[in-house]
């Protein structure tokens, strides 16, 4: 490692099986046991301990398959409020370890890697950061330090669990890249991986050694960015602040299937109310809305609409989303999940009324929205909500449904 490289080194911290580790912080009984954290209302394993992973359980697996593979597994309900507490504690620690930190996701951070004390090597610094996080937060994590973000992430992936590795020598990088399949690079999987195969690009090293123009023609400019990164040239900056959203989405799995249109409509309205909260927080209006519905037989439907004027008004969004749902709905099919996607976002500022909008109607809607926000701020989230959500009484009764991973703000990724 040359000294000239020290200023440009980038670190990646990835908490090891974060949700399980977070549960173990407050419940040591779970330590050393096979543990799975359940999401999707209890239907799927969204995180598993290494003990459960060794039994063959994979993230996203339905609980009914997981319990066959790991009969002794212990299942826990996810609690994003608690996970956020620990995630922000990790962020605080990282900000004392580095002058620039990106809050990438609930359990991953990119950071400018600097020696943790004068003269300390970056390898020893990686170990020191890992140990500090473990000591101060109680969560085991793996640290990778490299010349670029993509390399740092690949290195931390290869050093898991509870590893700390700084690789800044190009030769050492090359031997590491040669061992990793190209699909391990974030942003390359599925179709993009297939596009590379005819050119003999199978490993990360194959991609790094490929002709840059070929990579650009196969994977567009985002692929070229990865090529630069794999060759040790940082092309993706560390973003200490979250850039503005291009789209905001709300939704997820129902846990159980829904055939009844009233239940489906209730989910739609619930997701609209969650979306409006987020729009209000970001002071943003929606220009285009999509409703996607997934069915348990593998089919899906999508409805899209462009709004006459950008809006965050409940009545207008419900009207628009209802027509989208009609398109996305497959009669008698059992729906399993729904996503509402708001795009073409506009900054919220005073605007002229639309051609068919009346000032009285607009002011009334704004006043109702304000009262709704005030009541919910004071009494609790969803205390005042649309009566259309009544079929989901049991969902609202469970307070853990009141806070999801997408409610954790400031992350640059999902």
């Amino acid at each position: 490692m040359g000294n000239s490289r020290r200023d440009t080194a980038i670190g990646h911290l990835d908490a090891d099986c974060f949700y399980v580790s977070a549960e173990r912080v407050r419940d040591p009984f779970l330590c050393g046991k096979p543990v799975g954290v359940l999401g999707n209302q209890g239907a799927c394993v969204i995180a598993k301990s290494y003990e459960m992973k060794a039994a063959g359980v994979k993230t996203g697996m339905p609980i009914w398959e997981a319990m066959k593979l790991c009969p002794g597994g212990i299942y826990i309900k996810r609690d994003f409020r608690w996970y956020e507490v620990l995630s922000r504690r990790m962020l605080e620690v990282m900000r004392t370890c580095s002058p620039r930190v990106e809050y990438y996701s609930i359990d991953e951070f990119f950071f400018q890697a600097v020696p943790q004390s004068p003269g300390m090597s970056l390898q020893d610094s990686a170990l020191a950061i890992r140990d500090r996080v473990a000591q101060e937060v109680g969560v085991p994590a793996t640290i990778g330090i490299a010349r670029s973000r993509t390399l740092a992430k690949l290195i931390s992936d290869s050093a898991k669990p509870f590893g700390a590795l700084a690789v800044l020598d190009p030769e050492a990088e090359a031997s590491l890249l040669a061992e990793r399949p190209v699909s391990e690079i974030t942003g390359i999987s599925g179709q993009r991986e297939k596009r590379l195969l005819p050119w003999g690009i199978r490993t990360c090293l194959d991609l790094a050694r490929a002709d840059r123009r070929l990579v650009r023609s196969l994977l567009t400019s985002s692929g070229e960015t990865l090529w630069w990164e794999l060759n040790g040239e940082p092309a993706q900056p560390i973003r200490a602040n979250r850039p503005l959203h291009k789209a905001i989405s709300r939704g997820g799995s129902f846990g159980e299937t829904a055939v009844d249109p009233a239940v489906l409509y209730a989910w739609l309205v619930r997701n609209i109310e969650r979306l409006i909260e987020e729009l209000h927080y970001h002071e943003t209006l929606v220009g285009r809305l999509s409703v996607w519905v997934g069915y348990n037989d593998g089919r899906s439907g999508i409805g899209q609409t462009t709004l006459a004027v950008p809006t965050d008004r409940f009545d207008q969004l419900v009207e628009a989303a209802r027509s989208c749902l009609r398109t996305a709905w497959i009669p008698r099919a059992a729906a399993q999940r729904m996503h509402l996607i708001a795009e073409n976002l506009h900054k919220r500022e005073p605007r002229p009324l639309g051609l068919f909008e009346s000032a009285t109607e607009h002011n009334r809607a704004e006043a109702v929205a304000k009262v709704k926000r005030q009541v919910n701020d004071r009494i609790g989230r969803f205390a005042l909500r649309s009566a259309a959500t009544l079929p989901l009484k049991s969902i609202y009764k469970d307070t853990s449904n009141g806070y999801d991973i997408c409610d954790i703000r400031g992350k640059t990724c999902f």
Binding site: D27, F29, L30, C31, G32, K33, P34, L38, N40, Q41, G42, A43, E51, I63, M67, K68, P71, G72, G73, I74, Y75, I76, K77, G255, E256, S394, I395, K397, D398, S400
Partner: protein, 155 residues
């Protein structure tokens, strides 16, 4: 419905383990020993806190040992509230548990489960597990419409 519970072996007094031969029900999970109490056992039993002491008692009346008591191991909270156990001088008790078991799924229990203790006609203690309608989450996780009434916890 909860078809069984598990309790860390360290939570049970050694004397109690020896007296009731509980090591026959011992299993290891992640290197730690636990005692499992399952309703399908030939002689189903449960640990119960009574008068500040942990005791092992008969779980329900599955084999019809009593002609007086219902032939089950569970009772609805609603049945208790409506006076269904009034004539049997039933008393509420706590059943300590680290894990609950339902249709192949083990789930974490932080404290324990509410129970109801009665005497049969031979003056033997019999404990019933109290249950309530499943939450949406519990129903999806276990596919059961009944869930145990947990102590200071809702899942």
């Amino acid at each position: 419905m909860c078809l069984g519970i598990s309790l860390a072996r360290t939570e049970l007094p050694l004397e109690l383990i020896a007296r009731h031969g509980l090591d026959r029900c011992a299993h290891a999970r992640g290197g730690e020993k636990e005692i499992q109490f399952l309703f399908r056992d030939r002689d189903p039993r449960l640990p119960v806190w009574q008068d500040g002491q942990l005791q092992i008692m008969r779980w329900g009346n599955s084999h019809g040992q009593s002609r007086l008591l219902p032939r089950t191991g569970w009772t609805w909270q609603e049945t208790i509230d409506s006076g269904g156990w009034k004539n049997l001088d039933a008393v509420p008790v706590d059943i300590p548990a680290s894990l609950g078991f339902e249709r192949g799924v083990w789930y974490r229990i932080r404290q324990g489960i509410r129970g109801l203790l009665v005497l049969d006609e031979q003056n033997s203690h019999v404990v019933y597990m109290i249950c309530e309608p499943s939450t949406h989450y519990y129903r999806v996780m276990t596919r059961s419409d009944r869930m145990p009434m947990l102590i200071d916890e809702q899942i």
